[in-house]
């Protein structure tokens, strides 16, 4: 294969559009020219594929291929500069850049060409208002600010503002916000609201925001994409809260993150360069693993803040190698790692597009609060106050052009140093190509499916027209027998499957029972009947917890290995049975055409996969034991008190109470409950995944036989139509139909070859893309 010639997604897109266009034209002709048997055309129930439905489906695919929606999910490790990176990609400040973790809703930022004023749309705003109302009730019960602070801790100004608004009943979220300031304000408030809901123990309704259309969405023109030719479809960034921003809702957040990352065309993980050396930190490692596992080959990494790199620090290559080492779950190619400075990129983009504003601010000789970025620009732009003075002098002497030129030079320099060109080129391009891949794959598969259906619908009519009437009638009778024969095979196969499943299920229950016994003997016994487990040091307590965790994991590993082996055997046996059934159907020699079976995808029952949960990370809380000791008060006065105390029977006189550490403890009962729940949940989860797998096996079998049954019925319908043509039409009309069908089948044959070739090229392109990914 010539890789270089076919690795062009645009070419694949144009070609599949061409093919769909040609096919649509053929469908149109088929509709007008009555190519299909009458029954096929009239029958329009759910299972039938009428020409009209196929045309609709093709039109939908054409639209999807032409308008590919690309979503680039951005996730960040703690304080890595995710918002700044998003602002840098957008080229303006659309997201609040706060040092607080943004445990808010995921937010979409969509590139809309020509949209200079950012506008935010939040269609599902009502649940947030309902939360605000609940908070209002709680807040109003607390009268004094001092008391409130007991709940919220020290609050910043914006939080205080929000509390006031909620308290006074003035707070409400709208569906739309217009302009930078309003958008900014809304996002900040939403963020504060999430934090506030945690303080007041009122659950933020995250569960109601499951899919992208429900997230707040900001529309704005991305400065860097403004000059690019408008391509149909949309390009959207998804600001995704990471799992370590989740706090108490960690499980919920992980679930949300999984959904968001799964639906994204590509994923960018922003890491903090200055924190790279603390990656041994378990939190960070867990975070990276979660993201890497879900994103897989769609992942790119931005190592942000390289502007803070010291002279003796490692170079880009060494840095990339180190990052590769951090990813244990996937093999990340070095090309996918981009050391960048998001703040430089953001400042450069902003100063580049607002040079006039900078000059104006110098005229005014002051920087408004909103324009704090300008101060950063002077600071980071090389030269700081000195440079600013030079530009000021230019302006004072009336030479604004020269001042603009100097600013432009710095803008360019900052951009270069930010290394963001590479990000825009590679990461965004990759997001586009991944989105293309998904859409193209679906279009190719649908087109082939529809085309094969049409070919199958046309062929029997022609067969009947060119064959002898009595032969056709004999074939029809034989095919009807085949239909019942296929039905019997299906019944037999289902019986066999049912028996095998019962056997499998019996074995599974035995194994799960064994697992629970083993778990009890090996793990639960370690904490059973131990209300409090004591340790001298915290280290010892940690070692104990790890020991329990390892034992739990080992138990689970064993059951997993056993079930996997059993499932593999089951899968192999089912495959063997199905192969036998397929062979028996093949031997029927349906319609005299052995190739008929090729059009029905053979069933693949390898769908039983067991879902295993790892033991909980926190098995128990280690608490310090405190003991109160009586200590003699120092000095003469202490001695005097003790003396009189002994006379008057007051033994605590002259003594002080002091709390001292008395080792560490773990609540054994809680731990026992947690482990027992885990064991039961594991068994239940395995059971659930097996149920799901067995259901799928059943569906696959039914689906296969149903499709096959439908194929033979369509074949018979076609033959019957041909027979009717033969009996009711004059010779020349019959010849005209045959010639029409011949020409149609010829065109469809050519199109089929083109689709096959396209699929070959597409597979190759995908291979090249994933080779690039690893």
């Amino acid at each position: 294969m010539k890789l270089e010639y076919t690795s062009d997604v645009e070419l694949l897109r144009s070609e599949i559009l061409r093919q769909m266009d040609v096919f649509d034209d053929l469908l149109c002709q088929a509709e007008k020219g009555n190519w299909l048997p009458d029954i096929s055309r009239q029958n329009d129930d759910e299972t039938d594929r009428s020409l009209r439905k196929i045309r609709q489906s093709i039109q939908t695919e054409i639209h999807r291929v032409k308008n590919v929606d690309v979503v680039l999910a951005v996730v960040g490790t703690m304080k890595a500069g995710k918002s700044t990176s998003i602002n840098a990609i957008v080229g303006r400040e659309v997201l609040p850049n706060r040092s607080l973790p943004m445990t808010a809703l995921p937010t979409l930022v969509r590139h809309v060409k020509g949209c200079q004023t950012p506008r935010l749309e939040f269609k599902k705003y009502k649940p947030v208002n309902e939360l605000a109302e609940k908070l209002r009730k709680k807040i109003s019960k607390i009268k004094h600010q001092k008391d409130r602070q007991k709940n919220t801790g020290a609050v910043d100004e914006s939080m205080e503002e929000l509390i006031q608004e909620i308290r006074s009943g003035n707070f409400s979220v709208k569906e739309k916000y217009e302009g930078e300031r309003e958008v900014f304000q809304f996002l900040r408030q939403l963020n504060d609201l999430v934090r506030l809901s945690v303080y007041y123990d009122e659950m933020f309704p995250f569960g109601q925001y499951g899919s992208m259309p429900e997230f707040p969405c900001i529309s704005v023109e991305f400065t860097h994409l403004a000059e690019q030719n408008a391509r149909s479809g949309s390009f959207t960034l998804l600001d995704t809260p990471g799992p370590n921003e989740a706090g108490a809702n960690s499980e919920l957040f992980r679930r949300m993150l999984r959904t968001q990352l799964r639906d994204a065309s590509a994923v960018v993980l922003v890491m903090d360069y200055t924190q790279i050396n603390s990656v041994a930190d378990q939190d960070m490692r867990d975070h990276i693993d979660v993201v890497a596992r879900i994103a897989g080959d769609r992942l790119s990494v931005l190592v942000n803040k390289i502007d803070q790199r010291q002279r003796n620090d490692q170079d880009d290559q060494a840095l990339k190698r180190m990052i590769v080492g951090l990813f244990q779950k996937i093999q990340l190619a070095e090309e996918r790692i981009h050391p960048v400075s998001s703040s430089y990129a953001y400042l450069s983009a902003r100063a580049g597009s607002e040079t006039t504003a900078i000059i104006r601010s110098l005229h005014a000789a002051s920087v408004a609060e909103d324009n704090a970025w300008m101060e950063d620009f002077w600071k980071e732009g090389g030269g700081g106050p000195v440079f600013k003075k030079i530009v000021c002098d230019d302006i004072k002497s009336g030479n604004e052009v020269q001042a603009g030129g100097r600013i432009k030079e710095v803008v360019e320099q900052l951009w270069k140093e930010s290394k963001f060109d590479e990000v825009l080129e590679n990461v965004i391009q990759r997001a586009f190509s991944r989105a293309d891949q998904i859409v193209l794959d679906s279009a190719g598969a649908k087109l082939l499916d529809h085309l094969e259906w049409l070919v199958d619908a046309l062929k029997p009519r022609k067969l009947a027209l060119i064959g002898k009437g009595e032969d056709t009638r004999a074939i029809i009778a034989r095919e009807r027998r085949h239909i019942s024969s296929v039905g019997e095979t299906k019944k037999k196969m289902r019986t066999v499957a049912q028996k095998k499943m019962e056997k499998y299920r019996g074995e599974l229950n035995r194994r799960l029972g064994h697992f629970q016994d083993e778990f009890e003997n090996r793990v639960l016994i370690m904490v059973q009947n131990r209300k409090e487990i004591s340790f001298d040091t915290e280290e010892e307590a940690k070692i104990f917890l790890e020991k329990v965790r390892v034992a739990a994991k080992k138990s689970l590993d064993e059951v997993e290995a056993g079930i996997k082996k059993m499932s593999d055997n089951f899968n192999a046996e089912m495959q063997k049975e199905l192969d036998g059934s397929i062979q028996s159907i093949k031997n029927l020699n349906l319609g005299g055409r052995k190739g008929m079976l090729d059009y029905v995808a053979p069933p693949d029952p390898k769908s039983i996969k067991i879902d295993i949960h790892l033991p909980p990370e926190e098995l128990a809380e280690i608490t310090e034991k405190r003991r109160v000791v009586m200590e003699e008060q120092e000095g003469l006065w202490g001695g005097v008190k003790r003396f009189f105390g002994s006379i008057l029977g007051q033994n605590d006189w002259g003594l002080d109470e002091r709390t001292v550490s008395d080792g560490f403890k773990i609540n054994g009962n809680n731990m026992y409950d947690k482990l027992r729940d885990y064991c039961q949940e594991s068994a239940a989860s395995i059971n659930r995944s097996i149920d799901k797998g067995l259901d799928e096996v059943n569906n696959v079998i039914s689906d296969f036989f149903d499709k096959f049954d439908k194929k033979i019925q369509d074949f018979v319908i076609g033959l019957e139509q041909g027979l009717r043509d033969k009996e009711t039409k004059i010779k020349s009309e019959q010849e005209a139909i045959v010639s029409l069908l011949d020409s149609a089948l010829g065109s469809l044959g050519n199109l089929k070859t083109d689709i096959d070739n396209w699929r070959k090229a597409f597979a190759l392109q995908t291979e090249v893309a994933s080779a690039g990914a690893t």
Binding site: M1, K2, Y5, T6, D8, L11, L12, S14, E15, R18, Q19, D21, V22, N750, T753, D754, N757, W758, K760, A761, L764
Partner: protein, 303 residues
């Protein structure tokens, strides 16, 4: 380097490489002769084209003043017919050309028979032509009956592909090379045999032709026959302009000039500059196999 206005004579390299050119010229020429004297239309339409250059070359009048030649030849039907007689003897090597010339001459005889003011000389020329063609047609029928024609077809096929393998078509794109081969075969012994033999034999002939075409095309491009390539950038990519003679490109365009995009999309794609819309029936990604099948079908189902 070619000069676009330079006459092309029978012994010119392009006519040696594409032996179908004189055959096609002859057919176009006879179709251009009109009793009603409006034959100028055809000739004017082809002015500056390969046809005009061949016209000048074959008439040996390329060196004389162009205006005079055109006037002297086109203006009189007599002189046209006389020249046609000579050309038929000298150039008509394929049965296809002879049949087509014969068909047209029969039409002319019919037309002339209804006219009162046609000169005796014209009638005599037509008579002479009919006789010559009749002899050639008989000869052809005799050949068809014999194994000789089948052998000739085989030899023709081998010689065309040997010419291709020797790089004689290398001035044009890979797919255009196959088109050149198809035209050579269509106008020569191979085409004659194809048109006259039974369906099973003709299918076999086309099968052999396509296999050879696929092999040679894949070899030219340096891929396997089933490899999928970018149609525009690989199959239609002509060698760089400054290193090739454009006669071949022009000649192929002329050979395909009567083809329409609806009926022969691959031919149009291969032989013309596609500045406008891409023919919808032609895939943007394709294999040597698909290309060869489509082009062969377009040329050999050509009546």
């Amino acid at each position: 380097m070619s000069d676009k206005s330079y006459p092309i004579a029978a012994e010119a390299t392009i006519c040696q490489t594409l032996r179908c050119l004189p055959q096609k010229f002859l057919v176009d020429f006879v179709n251009g002769i009109e009793v009603a004297r409006d034959n100028r239309t055809i000739q004017i339409q082809r002015s500056g084209s390969i046809f005009q250059r061949m016209y000048d070359g074959f008439s040996g009048q390329g060196t004389r003043r162009q205006g005079q030649i055109n006037d002297s030849v086109i203006d009189t039907l007599d002189s046209s017919l006389q020249w046609l007689n000579d050309l038929s003897r000298e150039l008509a090597q394929s049965n296809l050309a002879i049949c087509k010339v014969n068909e047209r001459v029969s039409d002319l005889v019919q037309q002339v028979s209804h006219l009162a003011d046609v000169s005796f000389a014209t009638r005599e020329q037509l008579q002479k032509l009919t006789q010559t063609l009749c002899v050639r047609m008989h000869d052809m029928e005799r050949r068809v009956q014999q194994v000789e024609m089948q052998q000739a077809a085989g030899i023709h096929l081998d010689s065309v592909f040997a010419k291709w393998a020797a790089g004689k078509f290398s001035d044009v794109s890979a797919s255009a090379r196959y088109y050149a081969a198809l035209q050579e075969l269509w106008w020569g012994d191979f085409g004659d045999c194809f048109r006259s033999c039974e369906k099973s034999r003709s299918t076999e002939l086309l099968g052999t032709l396509m296999n050879k075409g696929i092999t040679q095309l894949a070899q030219d491009v340096g891929i396997r026959p089933t490899d999928v390539c970018n149609t525009r950038e690989i199959w239609l990519q002509a060698p760089p302009r400054d290193s090739h003679n454009d006669d071949m490109g022009q000649a192929l365009a002329w050979l395909a000039s009567d083809r329409s995009v609806d009926v022969s999309p691959f031919t149009v794609c291969v032989t013309r500059e596609l500045s406008r819309q891409w023919p919808r029936q032609v895939p943007l990604l394709t294999t040597a196999d698909r290309l060869v099948r489509a082009m062969t079908q377009e040329v050999f189902s050509h009546d």
